[in-house]
Amino acid sequence: MVRVGWSGCAALQFFMCKWISKIVAVVLFSATIAVAEDKIPLTTSLPEAVTTGTPVPFIVPKLDPELIEWPKFLVPAGTTNLALGKKVTSSVSDSDIITGTLDLITDGDKTGDDGSWIALPPGKQWVQIDLTKEADIYAINVWHYHSQKRVYRDVIVQISDDPTFSKGVATVYDNSVSGNDHPYIENRFGKLIDTKGAKGRYVRLFSNGNTSDKLNHYIEVEVFGKPAA
């Protein structure tokens, strides 16, 4: 049995720690390079500004500042808008929709002109996009209405594999009273939500009226991700 005194132990620990630190550093560095090489900035086509004037950036507690440029956001290479052309359902029947049709939400038209948006009735309503199969979702961008400065209330975004959202629900954004996110003013950049790679087939978006009227509008929803491996 080899006994090692205190000083010998400390020397060994120092020696081992030095090597372990080096190995860890090399591994982390390599991983970072790999990750960085694998990630690309998220881009999307942006609609023309309809409201007049440049948004004035403001810093007020508990409010998301109004975007004045498209945010830099990295996603894995190969990420696409999985929602484009996908089927959309909602909390109301088609006959109860005030204006437009649900397919407008995923048709790629973000102009905000009349005929490019849908209006759901007052109160808390949702729309749901079926991505047709499970996906790794990195970001969701939603345009409610950008022809006017307005704020939509109680915006909640959830992802699930269950079409009824009764189990396995991941809430990726919540600016209602119970949520941790903040209200924001709509503009042409939409609202980019970091979904942190959440997995799921269905995306459900809630809102509860807005500051201009009681209705719930959607121009477009983009779901950026890759089909799950």
Partner: protein, 517 residues
């Protein structure tokens, strides 16, 4: 079958019964849901002025932004009659009744214009004024326009009658109407100019008629020729009454003589405002507005037809009907429309000024169509078409006035207050109750806080600050997104909620966290 027998003009008694009935119908149309539309900023400012007067303060003419004292002088006794004692008790309906009554009186006044424009034209015009969306909408708006149009019509009728009857009393009444116009809005001189131009055109036409028919074969019915010995007295009477009422109202019954200096400043301010000040619109703005809806374009075409019928008679041989007042009307309509269209500053309620001549000209056109069609079946078709127009007008009025009165797509709802802001005082009440705050302190920090003074009138502790000022401690804050760093620090312990005030204008209500037991 021939239907060419003329419509006999009813006796004055029957005529007034007809116009009184039309006025009552106009009143009935204007009263429902009077308090439901949110208060426009201008309405809330006028409501605040009435609140100040109820509190015993005098009317102070503001040359910067507000108009004359006539609306306040007209409304104050009415709201007192309705039982209002102070600003916090005032309601939207109590205030808007005054302009509803002004609109109703305008409809009744068509009965007094029969000698000028003819019975059929006046009945049609009264119907158009009573039920058209534009007039119904703005007669329910607590701003100066309805009273101004009533005074303008009063000036036209009394001025004309004074000249016809050579009456000093009627000349005085014309002076009173002119004073009321000036005490309503600073735009009165534009109308005085247009009316003077119209009177000159009639004078010119009358002289030509006299020359053409060699003094007297055709009676010119304008009352302006020849110069009457009483004319100077009439002018003096009109001027004296005009000055007396102007001074009386603007000094608020002798309490504020500083007003004349303010009026002097107002000239510069309102001249600058005519340049636009954010309300610039193209010259065809009013034309587009008047064509709005299913019935607007048809009525506008009818009024153009009315102009054509008057012009054709001016160029041809004058007939029996009084032509001079119609020439006066055409020139006035064109002059006032051209003037307002040429000024860059435009707001939709100014179009109410056009609705008076448009209604009369459309009435003249319908009368003309009626008399040139002598066959019974043709007249039946005309009648059916008119009923169809009435139906379309009713549809427009229903949509614009009652279904979507504050909708941003409603062209009459200009920079209108959004219904969302009505929830703001309710939210304050709820949170104040939850936090046991019986008299919550509310600090409003915004460059332009209107119409909040109206909507917060029931709270006793409300203060207003500019964004760079520090309001100190409060239970609730209402801000724009432009807040100073010290205030931002203070707001960290509050919860924000956005409220829409007008299209593209948002305010943030900061409420204290609810205390939970």
């Amino acid at each position: 079958m021939d239907c060419s027998s003329p419509i006999s003009v009813p006796s004055p008694k029957i005529r007034w019964v007809i116009f009184l009935t039309l006025a009552l119908l106009a009143l009935v149309v204007r009263l429902p849901q009077l308090g439901e539309r949110p208060m426009h900023t201008d309405e809330s400012i006028n409501g605040y002025i009435i609140g100040q007067l109820l509190a015993g303060k005098e009317f102070h003419y503001d040359p910067q932004d507000r108009h004359g004292p006539a609306l306040a002088a007209f409304t104050l006794p009415l709201v007192k009659l309705e039982g209002a004692k102070n600003f916090s008790e005032l309601t939207e309906s109590q205030l808007r009744v005054s302009t509803v009554l002004a609109g109703t009186a305008t409809v009744l006044l068509f009965g007094a214009a029969v000698e000028m424009f003819g019975f059929v034209a006046c009945v049609i015009a009264a119907l158009l004024f009573a039920f058209a969306p534009l007039s119904v909408y703005y007669n329910r708006y607590f701003i100066h326009e309805s009273l101004f149009v009533l005074a303008t019509f009063g000036l036209i009728i009394s001025g004309w009658q004074a000249m016809q009857r050579k009456s000093i009393w009627l000349a005085g009444l014309a002076g009173a109407c002119a004073a009321l116009m000036l005490a309503c809005k600073e735009t009165a001189p534009l109308h005085f100019f247009a009316l003077a131009l119209a009177a000159l055109a009639v004078r010119f036409w009358s002289v030509r008629m006299r020359l053409r028919f060699n003094s007297g074969t055709v009676r010119t019915d304008n009352g302006l020729l020849p110069a009457h010995p009483k004319l100077l007295k009439m002018i003096m009477a009109a001027l004296a009454i005009f000055l007396f009422i102007t001074v009386l109202l603007f000094t608020w019954f002798g309490q504020n003589w500083q007003v004349f200096a303010d009026l002097f400043h107002a000239v510069g301010n309102f001249t600058a405002r005519a340049g636009g000040e954010g309300h610039e619109k193209p010259w065809w703005y009013y034309l587009k507005l008047l064509c709005d809806g299913q019935s607007g374009g048809i009525i506008l075409i009818l009024s153009l037809l009315g102009m054509v019928s008057v012009t054709s008679q001016v160029l041809g041989r004058p007939k029996l009907q009084p032509l001079a007042p119609r020439i006066f009307l055409v020139v006035y309509a064109l002059a006032i429309f051209a003037t307002y269209s040429a000024i860059p500053y435009k707001t939709p309620w100014l179009a109410l000024n056009f609705w008076l001549p448009i209604a009369l000209l459309a009435g003249i056109a319908i009368e003309w169509i009626w008399f040139v069609t002598t066959k019974c079946w043709v007249r039946s078709v005309v009648l059916i078409l008119l009923l169809g127009l009435g139906y379309l007008m009713q549809q427009d009025t229903r949509l614009r006035v009652f279904i979507k009165p504050a909708d941003e797509k409603n062209p009459y709802a200009y920079a209108h207050t959004i219904e969302d802001v009505l929830d703001l005082p309710k939210r304050i009440e709820t949170v104040a109750q939850q936090n046991n705050l019986t008299q919550p302190r509310i600090a409003v920090i915004a460059t332009d806080a209107w119409p909040l003074p109206w909507y917060l009138r029931k709270f006793s502790q409300v203060g207003f600050w500019q964004p760079e000022q520090d309001p100190g401690a409060a239970d609730f804050y209402i801000t724009t997104s432009d807040v100073s760093p010290p205030l931002a620090e203070r707001l960290k312990s509050f919860r924000p909620d956005f409220y829409g005030v007008r299209p593209n204008v948002l305010l943030i209500l900061w409420t204290p966290e609810i205390k939970r037991n």
